[in-house]
Symmetry: C2
Subunit: 250 residues, 2 copies
C-alpha cells in the first residue's frame, strides 16, 4: 500500500508559498492584480478566510498591497529599497537584540566591509554625496541635541558615506550593519557622553573622502571603530555597575 506524502503545514501557508513563487518567477508581474479573493478561494477550493491569511503573509513581506473597491484588489508590488532595507535592518537588529551577535563581531564586520566600501566611495563620491554627509555632520555639531537626534544624524552621516560608493547592493547590506550598530552608539552616548570625539573622527572621515585618500579613509575608520570598542567597554562597565548598585540582589 502506498501512503501519500502527508503535508504537515497549514493550507494557508501552502497557498502563500505557491503565490510567492508565482510572483518571484514572474507569473504575476509587478503592478499586476492578483485574482480576487473570491476567485482564489474558488480556485484553491478553500474559504476566503484561508486565502486572506495567505495574502496577509505576503503583505507582511511587502510582496503585495491591497486596495478596496472596483479596480481594487491585491497588487504585486516591487518592494522599495527602503522597505527591503528596513526589513533587513529589522532582522539585523533582532540578531543583535537577541544577543546572538556580539559587539565585537559587528565592529569587526564593519571594519572589514566598510573598509572596502569606503575605497569605492573614494572613487565614486560626487559633490552631492559629500554635501549630504557635510550636512549630517553639521547637524551633529548643534548644541542641545538629544541623544536620539544625535544618533539619527550619525546614521544619516554614515548612510551618506555608503551612498557615495554608488552601488545598490553595497548600500543594501551596509545600511543593515550601520543600523545594527545604533543601539551600541546610543549606549555609548548615554553613558560616556563624548560627542566631540565622534565629531572629530567624522570630520577626519569626511576630509579624507574629499581628498579621495583611501589611506586616510582607512585610518579614520579604524580610529572610529577603535574608539567605539573602547568606550563601549567603558559604558558597559558603568551600566553594569549602575545596575548592580540599584538591584544588588541577583
Amino acid at each position: 500500500m502506498q501512503h501519500e506524502p502527508i503535508v504537515k503545514s497549514s493550507i494557508s501557508k501552502q497557498i502563500a508559498e505557491q503565490l510567492r513563487h508565482a510572483i518571484i518567477n514572474g507569473q504575476f508581474k509587478t503592478g499586476e492584480r492578483l485574482p480576487t479573493e473570491d476567485e482564489l478561494a474558488k480556485r484553491y477550493g478553500v474559504s476566503r478566510a484561508t486565502v486572506r491569511e495567505a495574502l496577509k503573509r505576503l503583505a507582511a513581506q511587502n510582496l503585495i498591497r491591497s486596495r478596496r473597491g472596483p479596480t481594487g484588489g491585491n497588487f504585486v508590488t516591487q518592494p522599495t529599497h527602503e522597505e527591503l532595507a528596513e526589513s533587513l535592518s529589522g532582522a539585523a537588529t533582532l540578531l543583535v537584540g537577541l544577543g546572538s551577535m556580539s559587539i565585537d563581531e559587528i565592529i569587526e564586520a564593519r571594519r572589514v566591509l566598510q573598509g572596502g566600501c569606503l575605497k569605492l566611495a573614494a572613487r565614486h563620491a560626487t559633490s552631492d554625496h559629500i554635501e549630504q554627509a557635510r550636512a549630517a555632520l553639521d547637524r551633529q555639531k548643534l548644541t542641545g541635541l538629544t541623544d536620539e537626534a544625535f544618533c539619527q544624524a550619525d546614521v544619516t552621516f554614515h548612510r551618506a558615506l555608503v551612498d557615495a560608493s554608488d552601488n545598490g547592493m553595497i548600500r543594501f547590506v551596509m545600511y543593515a550593519i550601520i543600523e545594527a550598530l545604533v543601539p551600541i552608539t546610543n549606549m555609548v552616548l548615554s553613558y560616556v557622553k563624548e560627542r566631540h570625539e565622534i565629531i572629530a573622527i567624522h570630520e577626519h572621515l569626511l576630509t579624507a573622502l574629499e581628498n579621495r585618500s583611501e589611506v586616510d579613509l582607512d585610518q579614520a575608520l579604524n580610529r572610529l571603530l577603535d574608539y567605539l570598542t573602547e568606550t563601549f567597554q567603558e559604558a558597559q562597565i558603568q551600566r553594569d555597575g549602575h545596575k548592580l548598585a540599584v538591584t544588588p540582589q541577583e
Copy 2:
C-alpha cells in the same frame, strides 16, 4: 473643533505592529506563549479572524510559530540564523530579479566585500572550514551533475569560505550576496558550459586559503569575478540572440 488623527491602515496591520513591537521590546520573551486568539480578540475588541490575520503577518516574519491543542498557542520564536539569512537572500534575489540591481553592481559588491571577508578567513579558517569547502569542491568535480546540483555545490563552497571568516554578521550579509549571484551563475552555466574553469578557480581559491595567503586569495577572487563578468556578457549575447531567432517579432 479637533479632528482625531484618523488611522488609515487596517486594524489587523495595526495589531500586527503592536505585537511586533511588544516582541522586539522583550515584553514577550522568546519561547513564551502569547495570549490565545480568543483572548487577544477580546482584549483588542476585534474578531478572532482579524487577530489571526495579524498573527499570520508575524508568522510570515518568523516571529511566532503556532501549535494546536492545550499547551498549544502562538509562541514567540527566535528566528534562526538560517531563517533570517533566508529572508535576507529572498529580498536580495527579489532585487536582482526585478532588475533594480545590475549585475555589475553585484559583482563589484562581491569584489569589494568578499575581498575583506577572505582576508578575515585567511586569519580565522579552521581545518574544519577548509574540509567543508573541499567537500563542496569535490562535489562540483563529479561528472553527470545537473546545472542545479553544480550550482548548489557552488553556493555551498562559497558559504564555507564565508564561514571561515568566523563572523556571524559577515556571514549574514555575505550569504545574501552569494545568493543574489546564483541566477547569474546559473545562466552562465546553461549557455557557456565551462565548468572546468570555475573549478580551476575554486581550486585556486581553496589553495590560497590553505596557505593563508591574502594576496593569492585576492588574486583568485578577482580571477573568478572577471571570469563571471566576461562569460556573463557572452551568455547574455547568446541568450538574446537565441530569443531573437525564436521570436523575431518584437
